[in-house]
């Protein structure tokens, strides 16, 4: 097995060994469930709207992911720095990039499990009506992409410190900032925001997925953000000079 996959498997196992994974998954299900059924995020009440759609899930889930995913990634590098296990890891014949990608893949395993748990909502809608399957697939792809982006940001903040709480808070701030603050700031700064700028926000990029449109440009956008975060994490790991 390739070292990247060995690392990913260990991280996934370690994630589910800790209660954080279960707490995060539970919070995710409850929060998305509430928003889905009762339209807390400005949406309509599921039962009153009488529409066979899963869209409220896709509108609300990124919010929850931005909060729970940094809790999953916070330990990935910070814990190894604190306990000293990083020394053995980086002196194994693997590159720093492989380490970061392996850890990110492990965390993505959690994301997939968490997203799979929300399948109850579309399944329920399928029982009640005939929703647009394409929209559901597109929405899940969008959630997977934005979730991976949040994870990559979380891995990045985890390489910055040996304190997991600091890694979590920085990750949370970054995710929330990119998810919502960029959008709000642009609206504050411009009366008529330039199209180019609005297009660069996570929200705008995610919007078409939740409508069920799979656009390659949106995929490339999130892939680029992930690549930048991975590169930054690798760079931090490589510039280790701690004793």
């Amino acid at each position: 097995m390739k070292p990247v996959l060995v690392i990913a498997r260990r991280e996934l196992a370690a994630t589910f060994d800790s209660p954080i994974a279960y707490i995060a998954a539970t919070v995710f299900l409850i929060a998305t469930g509430l928003m889905f059924f009762f339209g807390i995020d400005g949406g309509e009440d599921f039962f009153e709207a009488r529409q066979a759609t899963v869209r409220p899930l896709f509108d609300s889930a990124p919010w929850v992911l931005a909060v729970i995913l940094p809790a999953v990634t916070m330990r990935l590098v910070a814990e190894e720095k604190k306990s000293g296990t990083l020394e053995l890891l980086v002196t194994l014949p693997v590159s720093d990039l492989e380490i970061i990608i392996g850890k990110l893949l492990g965390a993505m395993g959690f994301l997939v499990v968490a997203l799979a748990l929300t399948a109850v909502f579309p399944l329920l809608v399928l029982q009640l009506g005939s929703p647009d399957i394409g929209a559901i697939v597109g929405g899940y792809l969008g959630l997977f992409l934005i979730g991976t982006t949040f994870l990559a940001l979380g891995v990045m903040t985890s390489t910055w410190t040996h304190n997991q709480i600091v890694a979590f808070i920085l990750g949370l701030l970054l995710c929330i900032f990119f998810w919502t603050a960029t959008d709000a700031l642009i609206k504050l700064a411009f009366e008529r925001p330039p199209m180019a700028l609005t297009l660069l926000t996570f929200k705008q990029q995610f919007a078409s997925f939740s409508k069920g449109v799979i656009d390659l440009r949106n995929i490339i956008y999130f892939a680029s953000v992930i690549a930048v975060a991975v590169a930054a994490s690798t760079w931090t790991l490589r510039s280790r000079n701690w004793k």
Partner: protein, 329 residues
């Protein structure tokens, strides 16, 4: 492959690791001020020095945990800084901290390490079975690492370092924190390792060096201050030695005798050590000399009418050398 072999033959005979003018700075602090030494194939090299001398820094650079500020290192003919991944394959490393994943079971951890080094699950099983017996962790294989004693953690760390049967094994203070029985066992294991591995170990426990190492390099304040076999280093230090001189004085004037001793050519210092009053008073001096001055002292004593009680050359042992080289006077 042929190219690599040729490259390897190009290194000086027998040297498996060559370190040249290695420097490392942490901000303003210069941890290594340009050290150079070689490690020969199949030897057990002891890296000695007081705490903070630069032993761990050297080892962390050799294992590519940290980078060097300048200098060069070749491992098995490979440039450490150009081919860090290749050199890591040839090295097994036990860090000073022996930090292992405490949430993992010993066996799973060793499988993880083996798979990280590219072995299949089956190869890992075979290697672990053999190694567990060798390092004595057979009965702990299904235990969680977090529950192990320091001694067993150290053995698991050793197993991890030996799993890929590396030609070079680097052990940073392998016996620190162990009880006397464990220390003896680990030392035996290291000696055993020396038969088919090149071993570099760091320590500040001197008897350990005498018992396990073929050669020593003493590092002090980021510099190599001695390099050779224990016999060679002790021989070099023989020029500078101490004498214990016991005289029963004819006139009882200790200070006069001390001045006379200090005046002998080649004597650097003469200090009154201790006095014995019964049954007759005699004085013991400690004399530092750069040549053998015993005949001169005997001649002086007979001329002055003193009786020589003791005239003994104190051989400089490893402890003495270590203190001599690494004390900040």
């Amino acid at each position: 492959m042929a190219h690599k072999d040729a490259q390897r033959d190009g290194t000086s005979a027998g040297a498996v690791i060559q370190i040249r003018d290695l420097q490392k700075s942490y901000g303003d602090f210069q941890a290594l001020k340009g050290i150079s030494f070689e490690v020969r194939r199949g030897e057990i090299l002891g890296l000695l020095g007081p705490n903070g001398a630069g032993k761990s820094t050297t080892m962390k650079i050799l294992t590519s945990f940290i980078s060097a500020s300048s200098g060069s290192v070749t491992v098995d003919g490979l440039d450490l800084f150009r081919e860090p991944i290749e050199t890591r394959r040839r090295i097994g490393y036990l860090p000073e901290s022996t930090a292992l994943y405490t949430d993992m079971v010993v066996y799973d951890y060793l499988v993880y390490c083996g798979e990280m080094r590219g072995f299949t699950r089956k190869e890992c099983d075979e290697r672990i079975a053999k190694l567990a017996r060798r390092v004595g962790i057979v009965e702990k294989l299904s235990a969680s690492i977090g529950t192990l004693s320091k001694g067993y953690k150290q053995r698991v760390g050793l197993a991890q370092a030996l799993l890929h049967n590396p030609p070079i094994v680097i052990l940073d203070e392998p016996t620190s924190g162990l009880d006397p029985n464990q220390i003896v066992e680990i030392r035996e294991l290291i000696k055993e390792l020396g038969k088919d591995h090149t071993v570099i170990l760091s320590t500040h426990i001197l008897p350990e060096v005498r018992q396990t190492c073929d050669r020593i390099v003493i590092i002090h304040r980021g510099n190599v201050v001695a390099d050779g076999t224990i016999e060679e280093i002790e021989g070099k230090m023989a020029d500078e030695h101490e004498l214990i001189v016991g005289l029963q004085l004819a006139d009882g004037d200790g200070e006069k005798a001390r001045t006379a001793l200090a005046a002998i050519a080649g004597v650097r210092k003469a200090v009154i050590g201790y006095q014995v009053h019964a049954p007759v008073t005699h004085l013991h001096f400690t004399v530092s000399a750069s040549r053998d001055v015993r005949p001169d002292i005997a001649r002086y004593a007979s001329e002055a009418g003193h009786t020589v009680i003791e005239l003994r050359r104190k051989s400089m042992d490893l402890e003495g050398i270590f203190q001599h080289l690494t004390s900040d006077r």
